[in-house]
């Protein structure tokens, strides 16, 4: 059991190292850097050289990568932004907080809702409730995030004046200031996320409800709700959990778009401006943070399935 967890941890760290190396290699291999982005594509001569030497871009790539990695590992220092000459830890920190606020609120609402609706759809399979829920899920899942967001803005911000259309709060404002601004982004994210999870829960639940032990419980006269929530649901969650983790991580891309639409000061808007500016350390840091979230969520899912499924605990490491 301990060996299994250790194994996963080592793999997670290796994945992060691989992602960082790859992002660095790609940004190095692509033409242009922060100075050409800043001074214009055709800049040359002394100004360009000054700009580069100020930012230590004239040093060999390997050396820069080594310095950066050393900073991350020894002090947790993600470096300095080349464009804005600020500490990346501070820049990323407050925006990460805002993105996490958005994501966790959506997850706290979306995941229980999705499980509930998924179970309901499975129990009423192919009847009107199921068709309604499943069709709704397909719509919520397939509409591009920016279309959903734009429609929500049109209805709730412009026609009804209920919520603000864009966020005007600064990135380092206290959390409570985000309250009316966050409603529409949270709804958008919740819609997309819960649709994915709902479909998986529904299909896993249908499989489990047809299994022998559920029939056995029904024959024994166990109350219906008890069969559903005590016997079937935990077993249905097993296959669903890893996929839920994958979905959440994959939705990080969607968060970027949603933040952009609502002008929400999170990690996604920062990422897009970092890419525009070719601000390499900032891009690196954001890639590292996003990959860490992905790996972390997957790790949690692995642990959760260990808890749910005792059989895995004795399996080979």
């Amino acid at each position: 059991m301990l060996k299994l967890i250790l194994n996963r941890l080592v793999l997670a760290v290796l994945t992060l190292v691989a992602v960082c190396t790859l992002v660095f290699a790609v940004t190095e291999a692509l033409p242009g850097d922060v100075c050409t982005a800043f001074l214009g594509r055709n800049a040359q001569g002394v100004r360009l050289e000054n700009c580069r030497s100020q930012r230590e871009l004239d040093k060999p790539a390997i050396e820069r990568f080594a310095t950066w990695s050393y900073g991350v590992v020894s002090e947790g220092d993600l470096g300095r932004s080349l464009k804005r000459n600020k500490s990346i830890n501070i820049m990323v920190g407050s925006r990460m907080r805002n993105t996490l606020l958005l994501a966790t609120t959506a997850a706290l609402i979306g995941i229980p809702l999705a499980i509930l609706l998924g179970v309901l759809a499975a129990l009423r399979r192919d009847r009107r409730t199921d068709v309604g829920i499943s069709t709704g899920a397909i719509f919520a899942m397939t509409l591009p995030e920016f279309v959903t967001a734009t429609l929500l803005i049109y209805i709730f911000a412009i026609q009804l004046h209920w919520f603000p259309a864009v966020t005007t709060v600064r990135h380092n404002a206290p959390l409570l200031d985000f309250l009316p601004n966050i409603v529409l982004p949270v709804i958008t994210l919740t819609l997309v996320m819960s649709a994915h999870i709902l479909r998986m829960v529904r299909s896993a639940m249908i499989d489990v409800m047809a299994s022998d032990f559920v029939q056995m419980a029904q024959l024994k006269g166990v109350p219906h709700w008890r069969i559903v929530f005590r016997h079937a649901l935990p077993n249905a969650m097993l296959p669903a959990i890893n996929i839920i983790a994958l979905t959440i991580a994959w939705l990080l891309g969607g968060v970027v778009i949603i933040e952009q639409v609502f002008n929400y000061p999170g990690i996604g808007t920062l990422m897009i401006s970092a890419i525009y500016d070719r601000d390499l350390p900032l891009v690196q840091a954001i890639a590292l943070v996003l990959a860490a979230i992905y790996v972390g969520v997957n790790l949690l899912a692995d642990l959760a399935s260990l808890v749910l499924n005792p059989r895995l605990r004795t399996a080979r490491g």
Binding site: L11, L14, T15, L16, A18, V19, L22, V23, V26, T27, L30, P31, G32, I138, F139, M141, T142, L143, P144, E145, F146, V147, T150, L151, I153, Y154, I158, H196, R199, M200, R202, S203, A204, P239, N242, I243, L246, T247, A249, W250, L252, G253, V256, I257, Q260, V261, M271, I272, I275, Y276, R278, V283, I286, A287, L290, A291, Y294, V295, N298
Partner: protein, 293 residues
């Protein structure tokens, strides 16, 4: 499964069975028709547009839908109907080619890894898992922002990234068959690995791959229009739905038609692909909901 099922290849009855089962579902027929309509409109759009889709008209800006301009005009006086008709061409071209590329390299790699197994398989699958941990949007934006927004760049990058996920699916489907008798028999006969992949495995995992392909196509379309929306996809003045929505959403309170019609076109295309793939999978007895994104 008997050991002499050597010809699961193109049994005509199988295709007819799937088709008959799809015919019975109204949702499948509706979505297939919408998809077909989209493809036809995209192909023939240049001959169908009533106006020049780039022509600006300073006297007819922000007009609502009328007999002359069915979908109204935008803030430069351009005809929204003509632009919406043209707006799916680039997206369809890039995503169709990108999906072909992704399915091609992804499934070949996946099937081969499933067949060969061993240490190579183990290490490469670890690499695939690591690659899936990369924030895909970050990479796409990085590459496109520096290499350029030409179609071939988008096709290659989207095709490459979406192929990684296909490897997993193809390998998983292959693993169900490699231990079967007919693959064993082919090995004993001394067939080469390439022949086994082509003759024995590919026909058997084709169902899964086709459904996967439909799904990938829908996701890729979503990604492409998101890139366009962010300004990293189609270069103006080429009309594109994602770009049109991005350009006009600032004026949505005065000219909602300029945003809503492209949004409707894009949504109906993506949903029809998804529902078609769903129905196709159901007709072939595959459960698509359990596939990871």
């Amino acid at each position: 499964m008997t050991s002499d099922t050597h010809t699961p290849v193109a049994r005509p009855s199988r295709a007819r069975q799937v088709w008959r089962s799809m015919r019975r579902s109204r949702a499948a027929m509706v979505s297939l028709s919408i998809l077909l309509l989209h493809l036809l409109l995209a192909v023939f759009a240049p001959w169908l547009t009533p106006w020049d889709w780039t022509a600006q008209d300073g006297y007819n800006m922000l007009q609502g839908p009328s007999a002359q301009h069915w979908f109204g005009t935008d803030n430069m006086g351009r005809d929204i109907f003509s632009r919406t008709l043209m707006g799916g061409r680039e997206a369809l071209k890039v995503t169709l080619l990108g999906t072909l590329l992704a399915m091609g390299w992804g499934s070949l790699t996946g099937i081969s890894l499933g067949l060969l197994g061993g240490r190579l398989d183990e290490w490469l699958m670890r690499a695939v898992d690591a690659l899936l941990a990369i924030p895909w949007l970050l990479f796409l934006l990085l590459i496109i922002s520096t290499v350029g927004q030409q179609s071939w760049v988008l096709i290659l990058t989207l095709g490459f990234f979406y192929g990684i996920a296909v490897i997993r699916v193809a390998r998983g489907a292959t693993l169900d068959f490699v231990a079967r008798d007919f693959v064993m028999a082919a090995r004993v006969r001394g067939e080469s690995n390439w022949t086994i992949v082509r003759q024995e495995l590919l026909p058997n995992v084709l169902d899964t791959l086709l459904v996967e392909g439909g799904m990938r196509w829908a996701w890729m379309l979503l990604a492409f229009s998101s890139l366009s929306f962010l300004g990293f996809g189609v270069v103006p003045p080429t009309p594109d739905w994602g770009l049109m929505i991005a350009d006009t959403r600032g004026i949505i309170s005065i000219a909602p038609w300029a945003t809503l019609f492209p949004a409707l076109a894009l949504s109906s295309l993506i949903i029809s692909i998804n529902l078609s793939a769903d129905a196709f999978g159901k007709a072939m007895g595959l459960d698509r909901a359990k596939a990871p994104v």
